[in-house]
């Protein structure tokens, strides 16, 4: 049953990815300029006849759907076209970028959870106390602060006023050791963590609070267990269940936050690449970047759905479907 559900969801996700890829392909075509115009601009010797011929060679005189079909045909074979600005195949550009983005998003996700889980539990154990209100206020502040402004403030404080940390980039030219790279990672990771930790903390608190109201917790307390034993041994696993779902569902938002952070700190990740590609009319690269981001969000949704069923034996699939 679970197996069948999993396979079904995989096909569903692929179908959504297919539909979205067509949508994104169409949107990219509506961006300013077109590749041939750009070629003409950079080479004044091209005549109108040359331009027509180039359009025919690249299939740009075809209707949208046929161009998309051709692109898709190449894409499934791993050919995503040539990046205009990087002067190499688009697929070769993204390798390093994926690694850099994963490092940034991964570290920040781990840091967020390392803060959110204990703080959320702590607040849930003292609901409506002064500490709880303070945590809540801090969470709202983190959620509401514009990430790009936060990045600006951190750069002003730590790079300009104090001079402790670099204002951006991946490493110092001529250095590039592990310490130097970590040094460059601090501000981006902190920015992204502040932007995402509030939601996780609020969610952990709510989930823990709800779990602590349940009967099996009262039973555990009645057995004479200490509060620590009750929380760690009984409540935590149950309270973590919805958090797992939320983490998986937050991939897309994390990526959006990553785009801002990467752009602000010149961190060479996928987000900055997409932004540069869109602004630089690098259609093929923008496409592959957007497809990657879409796939990432879909994988997150898929993991959330599947994880929910796998982790919680009480959930029957019919329930899940009914609740949707």
């Amino acid at each position: 049953m679970i197996f069948r559900y999993t396979v079904e969801r995989i096909f569903q996700s692929l179908l959504v990815l297919l539909v979205l890829s067509f949508l994104v392909y169409g949107l990219i075509g509506l961006m300013p300029g077109d590749p041939i115009d750009l070629m003409i601009q950079s080479d004044p010797n091209l005549t109108a006849g040359d331009a027509q011929r180039l359009k025919a060679i690249h299939g740009l005189d075809q209707p949208l759907f046929e161009r998309y079909a051709a692109w898709l045909g190449n894409a499934v074979q791993g050919d995503f076209g040539y990046s205009r600005n990087h002067r190499q195949p688009a697929i070769d550009v993204i390798g390093d970028r994926i690694v850099n983005t994963s490092v940034l998003l991964g570290l920040s996700l781990i840091l967020s959870l390392a803060i959110a889980i204990p703080v959320g539990i702590y607040a849930a154990l003292r609901p409506y106390s002064k500490t709880d209100y303070a945590v809540n206020l801090a969470c709202f502040a983190g959620i509401s602060i514009p990430p790009f402004w936060l990045a600006l403030l951190l750069i002003i404080l730590f790079a300009i006023v104090l001079g402790w940390l670099p204002a951006g980039g991946m490493m110092t030219i001529g250095d590039g050791g592990i310490i130097d790279r970590l040094h460059h990672l601090i501000l981006p990771v902190v920015t992204l963590t502040i932007a995402s930790v509030g939601d996780f903390t609020r969610f952990m608190r709510a989930s823990m609070l709800q779990t602590l109201r349940q009967d099996f917790i009262r039973t555990a307390q009645a057995k004479g267990l200490s509060m620590t034993q009750v929380v760690v041994g009984h409540a935590l696993r149950n309270a973590m269940l919805p958090l797992v779902t939320i983490i998986a569902l937050s991939f897309g938002r994390l990526f959006s936050g990553g785009l801002i952070t990467e752009t602000m700190f010149a961190w060479q990740g996928m987000g900055k690449m997409i932004y540069d590609a869109i602004l630089g009319n690098d259609y093929n690269l923008a496409l592959i970047g957007l497809m990657f981001a879409t796939a990432l969000t879909l994988i997150g949704n898929f993991l959330a759905d599947i994880g929910y069923v796998w982790l919680d034996p009480r959930v029957s699939l019919t329930d899940r479907e009914r609740s949707q």
């Binding site: 949107l27 990219i28 514009p146 790009f148 402004w149 403030l153 897309g252 990526f255 869109i278």
Partner: protein, 290 residues
């Protein structure tokens, strides 16, 4: 209900703050006249000045008065966010109402579509939508060249992706409401589908719509400001809090003080809308456990 709202101190404080912000930014021309400020006047001899009597918050990099620009920026940012939130709420309500009321395949299709929109990577997509060349869509030049087109565009693209939360909430509410006795009674009396949705279901689904819309305003301001900051949203010379920070980033070494005020105002506005939404949720939906 009002008592519950008033108990939420942060929400009340937020409401007061927002009303104050709305007041001073709608009254921007009045305030300018009163204090002799001008958001447009450039003065290259008074670039990046510290606060003074003539310029209460100082001047920006081309000598325009910062306070006056902040007020004008607030007008734009608030108007755009409210319009986009309202448009999203309308789209979401219609989708949710129809999906929940008619059910079946129609519902399944609409909800899969909603899921699809939710799974889009929001910010990259908004950047693409903001970068689209409107003349390629066949819109007349008189429209694409006009000064306010960046305002309409940002309202439109945010509503295109922003309606999903309200749609899901309204659908869920509709699903339960249509089983209730008073709706069945209306059906038995021969009321048309349109009338049942309008008169019997929608008024009872208003609370979640209000809460979700209020909460969405904060998010929309964040998206608008980041797009404007990246140069893709509100276009200068129209000021918005986001695009005021674009130049601040370039001047971060020479005039870091320019980066403080616009960001602070975005922050205060967004946090106020979030607290207001939280307070409204407590007041309107006491069953929800936090």
């Amino acid at each position: 209900m009002l008592r519950r709202f008033l108990q939420h101190k942060m929400a009340v404080l937020s409401l007061v703050t927002l009303m104050l912000l709305a007041l001073v930014s709608t009254g921007a021309p009045l305030i300018e006249g009163l204090f002799g400020l001008d958001a447009q006047a450039e003065n290259l001899f008074h670039r990046s000045q510290p606060p003074s009597l003539a310029h209460p918050l100082g001047t920006d990099e081309i000598g325009r008065d910062l306070l006056a620009r902040l007020l004008h920026g607030g007008r734009v940012s608030l108007a755009v966010a409210l319009a986009a939130a309202l448009a999203s709420a309308v789209i979401g309500t219609i989708v949710g109402l129809f999906a929940g009321y008619y059910g079946g395949r129609f519902d399944a299709f609409l909800m899969r579509f909603t899921d699809g929109v939710i799974s889009l990577p929001l910010l990259p997509l908004l950047i693409v939508l903001a970068a689209i060349d409107l003349s390629k869509l066949g819109l007349p030049d008189s429209f694409t060249q006009s000064e306010n087109v960046s305002l309409y565009r940002i309202i439109l693209i945010i509503s295109i992706v922003g309606w999903t939360t309200v749609a899901r909430l309204v659908r869920a509410e509709t699903l339960t409401l249509k089983q209730r006795e008073f709706v069945r009674a209306a059906v038995a009396q021969g009321a048309t589908n349109g009338r049942i949705m309008r008169v019997h279901i929608l008024p009872n689904a208003v609370s979640p719509i209000i809460v979700a819309t209020t909460l969405s305003v904060g998010n929309i301001i964040l998206f608008e400001s980041v797009l404007s900051f990246l140069g893709l949203g509100i276009q200068p010379p129209v000021a918005s809090w986001g695009n005021m920070l674009t130049n601040a980033q370039e001047l971060i070494w020479s005039a870091p003080q320019l980066a403080v005020w616009p960001g602070l105002l975005i922050f205060v506005t967004v946090i106020a809308f979030n607290f207001l939404g939280d307070g409204l949720q407590d007041a309107l939906d006491p069953r929800a456990i936090d």
